[in-house]
């Protein structure tokens, strides 16, 4: 599934024109990205939570050369699927 399938889904289910549907899909994604960029958690009930986590600097190793390097502090995005989604994925049929 790609963005164009999402555009089709909104076109079919909400009745937007394809052009409007493409704008709306782009906007939904952009609004989520902006919130995450601000460091906000994005919670979609029934689907899951996106959370920005602050990782401290740590010592790592270049797996190719074996050389010890410092991995700088960084912000990473994690997704935690909702309990409902996990259950639906495991208890169907």
């Amino acid at each position: 599934m790609t963005k164009s399938d999402l555009v089709e889904a909104l076109h079919g289910r909400v009745g937007f024109s394809r052009k409007r549907s493409a704008e709306v899909v782009g906007l939904i994604l952009e609004l989520i990205k902006e919130a995450l960029e601000r460091g906000e958690k994005v919670k979609i009930s029934g689907f899951g939570n996106f959370e920005v986590r602050e990782k401290a600097a740590r010592r790592g190793r270049n797996p190719q050369t074996g050389e010890t390097i410092t991995i700088t502090e960084r912000r990473v995005l994690t997704f935690k699927p909702s309990q409902v989604l996990k259950e639906r994925l495991n208890h169907r049929r």
Partner: protein, 91 residues
Amino acid sequence: MNKSDLIKALSDRGDMPLKEARAAVEAFFTAMEEAILREDRIEIRGFGSFCVKKYGAYVGRNPKTGERIQVPPKRLPYFKVGKELKERIDS
């Protein structure tokens, strides 16, 4: 930000009634969820991708009691952040 904040923001930014924004957000996540349940891989450029990972059964332990328990095989949705979003978040 939760789903209703997203709906409000979409209504403002997309210049549409709240009711329409709600229908759009619901349709968006329903389509995503259906794809995950079909175990279809989702790939959204600039955002990230979702796939379903399969884990085999293993013998685990109840951390409270130390009791051994058989954990059945399971499937879990997995998200991998896309390059653009990864960079925007870390900058």
